[in-house]
Symmetry: C2
Amino acid sequence: MNLPFTLDADTVWYAIGDGSLDKSAHKLDDYPRIIILVDENTHHHCLPVLHKLVPGLENCDVILVSSGEKNKNIAQSSYIWNELTRLKAGRDHLLLNLGGGVITDSGGFAAATFKRGMRFLNIPTTLLGMVDAAIGGKTGVDFHDFKNQVGLFVDPVGVIIEPLFLKTLDQLQWQSGFSEVLKYALIMDKDLWGKVQGKHFSEIEDWGTIITKASRDKIDIVRFDAAERGVRKNLNFGHTVGHALESYFLRTHNETTHGMAIAAGMICEAWISAKIFEFDAAHLVEIVTMIDKNFERFTFDESKIPLIIELMHQDKKMRGNKLLFSLLRRLGKATHDVEVSPHLIEDSLRYYFKGEV
Amino acid sequence: MNLPFTLDADTVWYAIGDGSLDKSAHKLDDYPRIIILVDENTHHHCLPVLHKLVPGLENCDVILVSSGEKNKNIAQSSYIWNELTRLKAGRDHLLLNLGGGVITDSGGFAAATFKRGMRFLNIPTTLLGMVDAAIGGKTGVDFHDFKNQVGLFVDPVGVIIEPLFLKTLDQLQWQSGFSEVLKYALIMDKDLWGKVQGKHFSEIEDWGTIITKASRDKIDIVRFDAAERGVRKNLNFGHTVGHALESYFLRTHNETTHGMAIAAGMICEAWISAKIFEFDAAHLVEIVTMIDKNFERFTFDESKIPLIIELMHQDKKMRGNKLLFSLLRRLGKATHDVEVSPHLIEDSLRYYFKGEV
């Protein structure tokens, strides 16, 4: 067990590690009223744990929404606004988002836009939420087929990363979050790479350390560049292709996980990186092998490649007509705003679909 | 004619007065692409004027929405997001809101939440827009019966207040905006009160001066307290009762104007002010007489008073269970966060409905 630590970073406080909920529960006393947002999974598995650890929350009103990326949309936001209205929530109240990325993204957006700004707190309950979605103030919902097309940069008042909640995760959720752990390792943390490299995620035992390292990587970046003007863009490695694939699967109603899409995106973008920055071929093999060890590749018709490229043009990271990527200079070091030609992107998708390492 | 002036205030620039559009048009060159938001009225009356004054805007894409408070809702936001998506708008593009308060509120909200933040510029075309809605970063839409229940504090990049556009206004719109002019006079600007007092709005000739003074009053306040922690709350004079009346009429599908509701609210709240701060009875008469000269009173059943009080409890200015008002200490001076008992509010509504001065 690693000791929990807290960090009062500018406008957000973080409590991270085993026991962090217990250690930070007093912070909840700052709010005259707390309303808890859950989905059916966290309602069943996590809310009882929260109530047990923080008995004062037992009498709080609860808003229940449906889980899953396919429900992260404006209809869900409207439902939350409606419930907040019905519960007579005020600007000085706190929405406590208890769940994975869908809950923290959607709850953050709904709270921040309710009465022009109600505060919210994130308690992520999935690996993906703990190392990524709950940190850094990106909130939003999908709109038609476009991921996070409607949303805001707005920080929670605090984030409590309590690994205890992970006990309720299924394998698919572990896998999904693991894609982001690999991303931090690849873009900025060779030490983290060393801890995971060669392993299947199910073989990892010391998740406390992995989560602490990965979440600190993200916190360090977003503190430095909250508005994504520079270095924060490095976090988009794997996400330009990955989001387009995720949008494609949203559109075709084949639900995938965020992690599977990002894993595929990282293979394509590592391949592009190797082409552009000419890094060691052995490193590309090492990266792709590690991703393949943890994620099965998607298979689909090559004729869909133009559609996927088209979806990339709706990416929020577009500038003018250019597709700008965040790529690896080498293993453990990323750079951003690299223009990549559609031709090279197509080739990377062909490389991926052929299943080559 | 008064000379236009420009003000680079922190993060927002303002160009105010006759000729201000001409003088500030070069600022539009900063954006790689501009998309213009209009309603059917400004599409017909104002867009040709804008095109004539700034020919470079003739080729910009235009998004057209329906006018009127009853259309300022999430469905309208969704329509705007949809159009921005279809037009492949990017975060670095600019949404130019050309219209009254509905356009600047709704367009500002849609832009600020599109791809987590597209920039927008306000060119108000109504008196209400020029002296109030377009300034200060309050954006949002109504939700069910609640005014601006969903929205954000977010500043436009700039505001161009060009009185030329007022030529297209009808009497109801002049009247609606005039309520806010009276508010500035009452809460902070005795000089402005001196310029309008005793007049019907149709008798005023020098609108350039009135608009410049009133918009400067608002800018001075929001620069000092953008987040509405203190003095900005003074701008809510007339609005606690006024918004509840407006919500009531939205609910009963009797459309009213914002100005008529605020005028009624100012009568009630001036009466409450006089009760609490014991200010000169002659001043209360002067205020109420002036409002009555410009606005007919609503008539409706006294039995609706409890419902109106209930609607006040959804007010964004509520804290805990208390109704906090912004009131007049005297004519030309306001204060905020004054707790008023429901009993006194009811009495003020009875005073209003009896038609007493």
